[in-house]
C-alpha cells in the first residue's frame, strides 16, 4: 500500500498540561478540532502511524545524538514527564517492530538513521496521540529528528528523509499514516514562553501548504532562531511530512494560544 494520511500538528506540553489556564472557548475549539483530526485519520484505516517528532532529551542526549532515529519495538511507554504536569496518565503505546524493521531497511537506502528498540514517549509524541488515537489502539512508529542539540541536520536532509519515508511506505503492503509534530515559532521553557511570531508562522504554513520545496528549504537556522525561537528548529518535522506526502496542505486550525506557547496548528496534506 502506501501513505493513506499525512498531517502535522502542534505538540506543546501546555496543550494538555496547562489547558486550565487557557481561554476556555478557544481551548475547547482547538481540542475539538484535534479530536476531529484523529477521526479523519482513523477513517483512513491506517495499520500504523509514523509519528515524526522532535524529541526533547527524553531518550537521546548529547553523548550520542542521532540526527534521525526510528523506534523498532512492539510497545512503547509514556509520558516520560510527570503525568500531573503534562495532564496525561502513564500508558503503554503499541508498536510494530517487524514493520518498523522493514521501513528502517528501506529508509537506510537513502538516509542513515539510528534505530531504537526502547523508546519512552515525551510530550512531542504523546500530546498529539492523546487526541489522535486517544485509546492508544493504533501501532505507532516513533521517529525523532534532532531539533534540540546543535549541530542540527540541514533542512535539505529533512526533506530527503521525508522522501525516503515515502519510498519505504510505498514498499510495504500496510496502510501507513504520517504525522509531523512540533513548531512553529516558539520560545518554550523560557521566560519568553508565549511569544509567538504570527507573521512568520503564517508564511511558513503558506509555504508548507503549497509544498514549495525551495521556499521551505530556504530558511537558515540563524534566521529561524532570531525570528522563530529555538522551537522554530522543529520545522524539520513538517518539512519531512511535506516531502513524504507530495501534495497540498490544508489548515484545519491555526490560532495562537500564548499560554500553550505556540500557534496551535492542525493541518493535513493530500497525498500525490
Amino acid at each position: 500500500m502506501s501513505l493513506v494520511y499525512a498531517g502535522v500538528c502542534s505538540h506543546a506540553p501546555g496543550i494538555t498540561g496547562r489547558a486550565h489556564l487557557a481561554e476556555p472557548a478557544l481551548k475547547d475549539a482547538f481540542h475539538a478540532e484535534f479530536y476531529r483530526m484523529g477521526e479523519a485519520l482513523a477513517a483512513t484505516r491506517p495499520d500504523a502511524i509514523i509519528e515524526v517528532g522532535a524529541e526533547h532529551f527524553g531518550n537521546f542526549f548529547m553523548n550520542n545524538m542521532p540526527a534521525y532515529a526510528m523506534g523498532m519495538a512492539d510497545r512503547y511507554e509514556g509520558p516520560i514527564e510527570d503525568p500531573e504536569w503534562l495532564g496525561i496518565a502513564k500508558t503503554r503505546i503499541p508498536g510494530n517492530a517487524e514493520l518498523s524493521g522493514r521501513i528502517i531497511r528501506s529508509v537506510m537506502q537513502e538516509v542513515d538513521l539510528a534505530f531504537a528498540e526502547e523508546w519512552r514517549f515525551d510530550h512531542g509524541l504523546i500530546v498529539p496521540l492523546h487526541f489522535l488515537t486517544p485509546k492508544f489502539d493504533t501501532a505507532i512508529i516513533p521517529v525523532n529528528i534532532n531539533c534540540q542539540g546543535p549541530p542540527l541536520t540541514p533542512l535539505k536532509r529533512a526533506w530527503a528523509f521525508g522522501e525516503a519515508l515515502r519510498t519505504a511506505c510505498d514498499s510495504v503492503p500496510e496502510r501507513i499514516a504520517i504525522i509531523g509534530t512540533g513548531g512553529i515559532s516558539h520560545w518554550p521553557a523560557t521566560p519568553d514562553s508565549g511569544m509567538i511570531n504570527s507573521a512568520w508562522d503564517n508564511e511558513f504554513m503558506a509555504r508548507w501548504c503549497r509544498n514549495d520545496r525551495q521556499a521551505l528549504l530556504s530558511y537558515t537556522d540563524e534566521a529561524t532562531y532570531r525570528e522563530a525561537g529555538q522551537g522554530g528548529f522543529e520545522i524539520r518535522t513538517f518539512i519531512s511530512v511535506a516531502a513524504a506526502a507530495r501534495g497540498r496542505g490544508e489548515i484545519r486550525f491555526m490560532q495562537p494560544i500564548p499560554v500553550f506557547a505556540v500557534t496551535c496548528t492542525l493541518a493535513h496534506m493530500s497525498i500525490l
Partner: protein, 108 residues
C-alpha cells in the same frame, strides 16, 4: 564540559525514577558522581532554577526539574526571571531570554 555535566545530570534525573529517589535521599553522594564546579553543584543541590537557567541549561531539561521541586509553571517562569535579575544574562546555550524581567508574556 561542566555545563554538559549539569545537563547530563538533569537528563538522568528527568528520565530515571531511581535518580529522582537518590536526589531526595542521598543528594550529595549522587551529585559527587558528576563533574560539577562549585557554582553548578550548589545550584543543583539547592534547586536554584534561576542559576541553572543563567548557566545555560537547556529549557527542555530544566523545565522538568521544576515540577520535581513542586514548583508550578508560573513560579518556574518567575524563578528564571529572578535568576537573570540576580546573576545576569544567560551565559550559554540556545535558551536565552529576549524579553525583560518585568514582562509576563503569556500573563504568567
Amino acid at each position: 564540559m561542566s555545563l554538559y555535566s549539569v545537563q547530563k545530570f538533569l537528563y538522568q534525573l528527568n528520565r530515571d525514577p531511581k535518580v529522582q529517589q537518590r536526589y531526595r535521599a542521598e543528594r550529595d553522594a549522587l551529585l559527587a558522581e558528576y563533574e560539577l564546579d562549585d557554582e553548578e553543584l550548589a545550584a543543583i543541590r539547592d534547586g536554584d532554577i534561576g542559576k541553572l537557567y543563567v548557566l545555560g541549561a537547556n529549557g527542555q531539561l530544566l523545565m522538568h526539574f521544576a515540577p520535581l521541586l513542586g514548583m508550578p509553571w508560573a513560579e518556574y517562569l518567575e524563578a528564571m526571571r529572578e535568576g537573570v535579575r540576580r546573576y545576569g544574562p544567560v551565559r550559554a546555550g540556545i535558551y536565552a531570554m529576549t524579553t525583560s524581567t518585568d514582562d509576563k508574556v503569556a500573563g504568567l
